[in-house]
């Protein structure tokens, strides 16, 4: 959904600030919020304004024809509008909302914030969204906690706080919209966007003594001349066809080669690009299952393997200040 221009672009700065201050007082940031008159806003929706126009049309018609039943119809529509205000409010009133968690994402992806909604009675057609992101619609059954994953665009790495989430509903007829802006202290960890590269360009310690090469099957290393007993599948047939003689391809496994990813030693100028490349390397090495360490300006991680290590490294890359 295209974001378009938000109201923020139109409002003068000072008003935005005042609005923020006001709403912070009105609906202070809380982990869990119970909706009530204090934090719910309600007004006619666009269809509701259309409905009002319809009421005026009917009133003019009924008055001009002096027709009491038509007048009663006009009043009926007006009464329905009044009743709808209460029904719409009651649909949100007393609802408890809590921010549960959000899985870390890479910059530029959609983060999914999970919210928990509970109400003592059934609620219908609630929608949760951040302005500019597609709304998630949900209906609740009485007493059953319902979890909704609401997408928000995570543009930059870091500990992203998407801000106030909008919870709204126009149940039952769409004539009246009741909404609230909730600051549920949402936080999403956003890793740097991985930039494709090869870890060997940055990795240090490959030629180190500490890294031992063992004949293996993982990585292509070099060619050597054929000796009887070598497997035919390893023969470099290309070279043989070119008439250079019979060679076999030699593969190695890196056993215990501690690779260091060093932020300071990277050739790129842009720190964000460096972090993105490091992110890719960390992911790649994590997938290969090879131990690696990371040196950042303020932090260093000793070489290790495993999922937790990768997560720690990614988290450090996400919140690293350079």
């Amino acid at each position: 959904m295209p974001a378009g221009r938000s109201w923020d672009d139109w409002w003068p700065r000072r008003w935005q600030f005042r609005y923020q201050r006001w709403i912070n007082r009105r609906i202070p940031p809380l982990r869990e919020v119970t909706l009530g008159q204090r934090n719910l806003f309600i007004f006619l929706s666009m269809p509701g304004l259309g409905w009002l126009l319809l009421v005026v049309l009917l009133w003019v018609g009924a008055t001009n024809y002096q027709n009491n039943l038509a007048m009663a119809l006009c009043f009926l529509l007006l009464s329905v509008l009044l009743v709808a205000i209460h029904l719409t409010f009651a649909n949100l009133n007393g609802l408890r909302v809590r921010f549960v968690s959000a899985e870390p994402v890479f910059a530029g992806e959609q983060a999914l914030c999970r919210f928990e909604l509970v109400a003592t009675s059934s609620r219908q057609q609630l929608s949760l969204d951040w302005p500019g992101s597609p709304p998630m619609r949900v209906s609740l059954q009485a007493g059953v906690p319902t979890y909704v994953d609401v997408p928000c665009a995570a543009a930059r790495r870091g500990l992203y706080q998407p801000g106030r989430v909008r919870l709204q509903s126009d149940f039952p007829f769409g004539l009246v919209r009741c909404w609230t802006w909730l600051d549920l202290c949402c936080e999403v960890l956003v890793y740097p966007a991985p930039l494709t590269t090869d870890y060997r360009d940055y990795a240090q310690g490959e030629g180190d003594d500490s890294g031992r090469m063992v004949a293996g099957t993982d990585d292509y290393f070099s060619l050597r001349s054929y000796q009887p007993g070598d497997a035919l599948s390893r023969v470099a047939w290309k070279q043989f066809a070119a008439g250079r003689g019979l060679f076999v391809q030699e593969f190695v496994d890196y056993r215990g080669a501690d690779i260091w990813l060093d932020y300071a030693a990277m050739p790129e100028a842009d720190p964000e690009v460096r972090l993105s490349r490091l992110c890719f390397c960390a992911l790649q090495l994590g997938e290969l299952g090879r131990p690696f360490g990371l040196r950042l300006p303020q932090q260093r991680f000793a070489p290790a393997t495993g999922h937790e290590h990768v997560q720690r490294v990614l988290q450090a890359l996400a919140v690293c200040s350079v």
Partner: protein, 674 residues
């Protein structure tokens, strides 16, 4: 636990919503079926059917060209039907045509909503055409259906709790709350006069009285049981043989047709300007729309309003054609005979006018009877005797030739009231006595409840009035000489099983006396009540109602409104305060502890949010503030009181109260003494 992962926003109309939408369309067509051209109904049916088949997956949506040609055809048809000018019919036809055609391509929620709004306009058009109890009930049901459709359009049809009936349930709840509000609004909302003139619907081809009387006119009316009017007599209904509802005077005869030559022959006066009859009205009439200006009244009575004109002959006309149900009150007036009792020569000529040379045998008969009688009264008696001897009353009179009066009097001798009235006036005029035909209705069906009479089309009647030099105009009903039951018991009793009525009265299960007839009369009574109290509720009755409540001026009404709204609001706020009383008020003990903390905060040691009382007290002691040791002790007690082992309630209360007092004292000491 219930997780929603991908409830994406969809603006597409759900299948239940579409079903509701189509049923709203079908119901709109049904409601307007009487006022719309048949082809438009056929088009609506076609559209509904097509959309249903699309819904069932049998066929696909119609192509662009087919839709365009349908639109063009409908527009052309409506333009052709309304070529004479713009009327309400054109507006309604256009609305329904658009509604039906749009159903062929309705796909989005917003489209559906817009068209459901149109459904309310269509419903209003229906109410302009139809008023009364049943239309009100139908309108209510239709509103419920449209509201349900609106709810269905908005509902999340994938929610497990959703059923086909749940939108209807939602709409019913809303309606149940809305109806009392509607009632209050209806009673107190101020009414305005029409803002500007609106195009009216065309006169509908209905049976009804006409300005002319030809043989065979009235017996056409006799086949219709449509309601003409309801008349309420607060002081009891007079005997039915005196209920002659005069509509028009027919004074000119051309040998075949009796007609009202010209209304300008009479002097018309605004009845509102006449002398106020005072007292209570004699009876009130609720007249169904008939498309003419006529108002029907009993002899010696007059409505009293500015938009009704009356002439000296006791005939009344409304300001414009009666196209909507209208009510008027009628007062009894003392008939004062003009003194001296004379007929102007011009009037005498008019009331003795006969076409030259026609009906010679009738003229001869009149001459001979007049010679024998000598006086007007005797002459009338002679003619009535003549009818009584050998004439029959029938609904299927034989066809009459050129000399229609002669043919009737001497050949067929079978006729309907118009034959008797016409020939009677002819005979009197031929004898030189001024006479005229009066058309209107006679009698009516007495309703036990409510002191009122229903007059139907088959009560249409024609009778005569003759000028007696001593008594003025005297009503003579020649039909009573032939068929007195017609006058005393009504038309229905005379032809209980008449084929001519198309079985309407005879084999009709609704005839009076049967159980269906009972329910019919109950329904009729309801309709009557609704009409009386709803249709005729105008600003005048509103004012009188408000006056009954002690609200003469609009300011008092406004004050009442404000008072009621404010009062309700106040009650609501008080209720909320009461409901959240525990949540809002902090325990007095906490307040006391906070105060103590605040007094230390002035000294520079502020308690942070995550600090326990004991940790804070230790910090205070470390900062060497006054009375810190005592504060540590009080904090320990506070901590124990709030979070310690549960103690019996009275003991706890006692502890709390003491601690509270100690904390207050401490705060004071730190602040002012320390």
């Amino acid at each position: 636990m219930n997780t929603v992962q991908s409830a994406s926003p969809v603006d597409q109309l759900s299948r239940p919503a579409l079903l509701y939408f189509l049923s709203v369309l079908a119901a709109s067509g049904l409601l307007l079926s009487q006022s719309l051209p048949w082809w438009l109904l056929a088009v609506s049916g076609l559209c509904i059917g097509w959309r249903l088949l699309v819904f069932l997956g049998r066929i696909s949506f119609p192509g662009k060209w087919l839709k365009a040609s349908l639109v063009l055809l409908c527009c052309a048809g409506i333009a052709f039907d309304n070529r004479t000018g713009i009327s309400l019919d054109a507006f309604v036809s256009l609305l329904l045509a658009g509604f039906a055609l749009k159903s062929l391509e309705v796909y989005h929620v917003s489209d559906a909503r817009r068209f459901l709004y149109v459904a309310f306009l269509v419903l209003m058009a229906y109410l302009l055409y139809n008023q009364g109890f049943l239309p009100a009930v139908f309108a209510l049901v239709q509103s419920l259906l449209v509201l349900a459709a609106l709810a269905a359009v908005h509902a999340d049809a994938r929610h497990p709790g959703f059923t086909l009936l749940s939108p209807l349930r939602t709409a019913s709840i809303a309606m149940a709350f809305a109806l009392p509000v509607l009632l209050v609004m209806f009673l107190v909302m101020p009414r305005l006069p029409p803002l500007w003139a609106m195009p009216l619907q065309k006169a509908q081809a209905k049976t009804g009285m006409s300005e002319e009387m030809r043989p065979g006119d009235i017996d056409q009316l006799a086949k219709s049981a449509d309601l003409v009017m309801r008349v309420t007599f607060p002081a009891g209904v007079p005997p039915r043989d005196s209920l002659y509802w005069r509509g028009a005077i027919l004074d000119t005869f051309d040998g075949r047709t009796w007609r009202n030559a010209c209304d300008c022959n009479y002097q018309w006066l605004q009845t509102g300007a006449m002398k106020n009859p005072g007292a209570e009205p004699w009876y009130s009439v609720m007249l169904e729309p008939h498309g003419n200006k006529w108002l029907f009244t009993l002899p010696a009575s007059s409505p009293h309003r500015n938009d009704v004109w009356g002439n000296t002959q006791g005939i009344f006309r409304y300001r414009k054609d009666v196209r909507e149900r209208m009510a008027y009150d009628v007062w009894a007036v003392q008939e004062t005979l003009p003194q001296p009792l004379t007929l102007l020569q011009a009037d005498r000529n008019r009331y003795t006018q006969l076409p030259e040379g026609s009906n010679p045998r009738a003229r001869a008969l009149a001459k001979s009877l007049w010679l024998a009688a000598g006086t007007e009264a005797a002459m009338v008696r002679q003619v009535m005797d003549f009818y009584h001897q050998s004439f029959g009353y029938t609904l299927q009179p034989p066809l009459l030739g050129d000399n229609s009066v002669d043919d009737f009097l001497f050949t067929s001798k079978q006729g309907f009231c118009e034959h008797f009235a016409g020939s009677f006036v002819f005979l009197l005029r031929a004898a030189g006595i001024p006479a005229r035909v009066v058309v209107g209705y006679q009698g009516g069906e007495l309703q036990e409840q409510g002191n009122y009479v229903n007059v139907r089309q088959y009560d249409a009647h024609a009778w005569a009035e003759a000028w007696f030099p001593t008594r003025g105009w005297v009503r003579v009903d020649p039909t009573s000489a032939v068929a007195p039951e017609r006058i005393q018991h009504g038309f229905a009793s005379l032809f209980p099983e008449s084929e001519a009525l198309g079985g309407m009265l005879g084999i009709n299960p609704f005839r009076p006396g049967s159980w269906l007839g009972y329910w019919r009369s109950q329904l009729d009574y309801l309709d009557y009540m609704v009409s009386r109290f709803v249709m005729e509720y105008d600003s005048r009755s509103q004012q009188s109602l408000l006056r009954d409540w002690g609200l003469e001026s609009p300011w008092r009404l406004l004050a009442l409104f404000m008072g009621m709204t404010g009062g309700l609001f106040a009650v609501f706020v008080i209720y909320l305060q009461w409901r959240d009383r525990h949540a809002r008020r902090e325990a007095p003990l906490t307040v006391a502890y906070r105060r103590a903390c605040a007094s230390y905060a002035r000294c520079g040691v502020v308690r942070t949010l995550d600090e326990t009382p004991l940790a804070y007290a230790n910090r205070v002691q470390a900062a060497v503030l006054p009375n810190a040791a005592q504060f540590v002790e009080l904090s320990a007690r506070y901590s124990a009181c709030c979070y310690g082992e549960p103690v019996a309630k009275p003991a706890l209360r006692q502890q709390q109260r003491e601690l509270q007092r100690a904390l207050h004292r401490h705060a004071w000491r730190v602040r002012y003494a320390g």
